[in-house]
Symmetry: C2
Subunit: 193 residues, 2 copies
Amino acid sequence: MDQNLLLAGIAKYVNLDPEEQDYLISVLHYKKIKRKQLILEEGDINNKVTFVTSGCLRSYAVDKNGTEHVLQFAPAGWWITDMRSFTTGQPARLNIDAIEDSEYIYIPKADFEELNTRIPKFEHYNRIIGQNALATYQHRQIDNVTLSAMERYANFCQLYPSLIKTLPQKLVASYIGVTPEFLSKMLNTIIVK
Amino acid sequence: MDQNLLLAGIAKYVNLDPEEQDYLISVLHYKKIKRKQLILEEGDINNKVTFVTSGCLRSYAVDKNGTEHVLQFAPAGWWITDMRSFTTGQPARLNIDAIEDSEYIYIPKADFEELNTRIPKFEHYNRIIGQNALATYQHRQIDNVTLSAMERYANFCQLYPSLIKTLPQKLVASYIGVTPEFLSKMLNTIIVK
DNA sequence: TATTTCTCTTAATATACATTAAGTTTTCGT
DNA sequence: ACGAAAACTTAATGTATATTAAGAGAAATA
């Protein structure tokens, strides 16, 4: 069972004792999913946190026209959650699915809470990565109102150079907030110039 | 010195011992500022966390045309920070100023970190409010790509009923991501119908 | 390998919102 | 209380991006 990526990610911030690590490992669940398979559907309660160990997941919302809007990509080493549903217990607004065959670890909410109270170092880790995520969302919000579509695309390429190579263009379009048609046009008219 | 609002906010989530509370109080700094006064300027390092005790602060970014875009309002009882600058030490992209005469408490970064390591309950509190903030930003991002300007306005009114009464309309416009002219037109043509 | 199902492209038309500008009303600082 | 500054309104014009549609290319599944 490959929890090494998770342990390594935690070890960047805190040093768990062997028994703390064993306790952590004891509450992990392992899953494999195929491309396009959903692990969270709008309306469900998101009662676990999910850590991707291989492949790539994505979270997205669907608008009233049925168009999908990608909120996040989670390649190996990333967490992905509908945080409002997780913290408040409300139905999720997000869907989470696999964009390629993937493997992930999840921790049920009750275990996650107990980990945090019984291992202060784990809670420290979570506070820090929470702050990092918050920083990311704050600046994404600013970018979205401040930059043009082309600038947001350039930004995405800089921030996620590995993703840009593997992702279908329409998913990148959805993430940066334009239609696939417009992104296509934008990229091709630039090259010609 | 009015730290009651802060202590009450923390007490909603954790129960500090008297000596923990004393230690916390010992690192608090108190400030008053006038309307329009800046407490963080783009380019500065945001090396403190700020908790508003009266009045209202706001964070905003300025685009290349000089237009301001409001990221957050912080009335009494709210925290406000450029989280990327705070966590990474990079120069801030955000400005923070007072939209009315205000009072706030701040905690320098070094003290904030020490509070978190020495008082696990304080770190628990921060993890939880961090999760809440993350939930808010995730859904704001979704709302921004999913809803029309009118729907975003309606959303804002629901979420911040107290703010909508006191804020100048142009700041609401900036928060929901439209020009003041467009918001004005939008609101007036609705009423006529 | 064939066939279906996505993905990308191009282009015409449409629209939500921005920009500019000028006038009016409200608020603020002295 | 007064003058200056800020906030709001209206309207004409402009633009970035959406929508629709249809064909070509690529990739997934059987």
